[in-house]
Symmetry: C2
Subunit: 206 residues, 2 copies
Amino acid sequence: MTGTTPAPRRRGRPPRAESAAAPAARDRILAAAREEFSERGYEKTSVRGIAKAAGVDSALVHHYFGTKEQVFQEAVEDVFAPALRAPDVIFEGAPEEIGERFARFLFGIWENPVTRTPLLAVMRSAVNNEVAASVLRRLVASQLLRRVAAQVGFPDAELRAELAASQLVGVAMLRYVIKLEPLASADVEVIVQRIAPVVQGHLTNP
Amino acid sequence: MTGTTPAPRRRGRPPRAESAAAPAARDRILAAAREEFSERGYEKTSVRGIAKAAGVDSALVHHYFGTKEQVFQEAVEDVFAPALRAPDVIFEGAPEEIGERFARFLFGIWENPVTRTPLLAVMRSAVNNEVAASVLRRLVASQLLRRVAAQVGFPDAELRAELAASQLVGVAMLRYVIKLEPLASADVEVIVQRIAPVVQGHLTNP
């Protein structure tokens, strides 16, 4: 059984011997970070709290991720992964239906409570904290919206992509966060039918 | 100078003798509440903090307003007053231009920093706290959106009014809160030109 007893934890960079267990510890920290940020929001979450939830020393969190902002960025990338890794077909199919494909894709993520909860937590954090907002801005703008804009043949393609996103974000706010009725209980298909042409219009209307 | 020396403050309902000064104290508390909620959001604001900022005893806050939720509701009504007291002409002018009138009216409020700041604070509070969300829901739904819906001759007028609002809320989120570029710096007139037809469409498209 030589070598299987874990060394006592200590501050500072983990010793090289820990490297074999690294991916597991890193994943555990990331899962804990998602959980903590989802539950408490950016401001109330601390690196110490994430470390505690993951059962590791704070130093290990700093070692793998750096600052709290950087842990948040990784957690958000993780949360947004389903959206950011949107299949190419959404962007590259018939241009006159990109609005519907984009809307259906995002509502698919929002309607599923498993993917919705962390997404809403990220939105809440961004609304309350400038650092969290800037992380969201970088990620969403540089990844998702740039892909949308690339399909739009207008000089103001970026503005158009953002206006399209604004319609989707607004529905998400009123339906899932503020829970305004009748919007909150309306059939998602009814909403997609109303929203898809708007998203399309923002992207491709002359 | 008899009677002008203020009596020492004490807990409990204010004595009747204070009534003459009541409007001033009430206004001071409301102003302090707006300030506190704007700065800290709903969750971090306390009745004690509002009382302190207004220079009165907490009991006086409870006396005039009741619970923290009720103070918040009054403060929000105050913040939303410009929007909730939208002139009739917005709703009662030519129906085919209600989208543009509604959009211009709301952007007028958002573009003015004096009216924007407390509005954003209310949005932030509502995103973070269910009590604040329910206050916003009641006020906006029962006052502003009902007036919009009343002008729409469809059975699903309420849903239409909420979808129209969702486009406006989404732009506000991305432009003023998340500050996504180029949307955040775009000329407001350009945005109104893009958004007004969408608002109109939600309200009156077949």
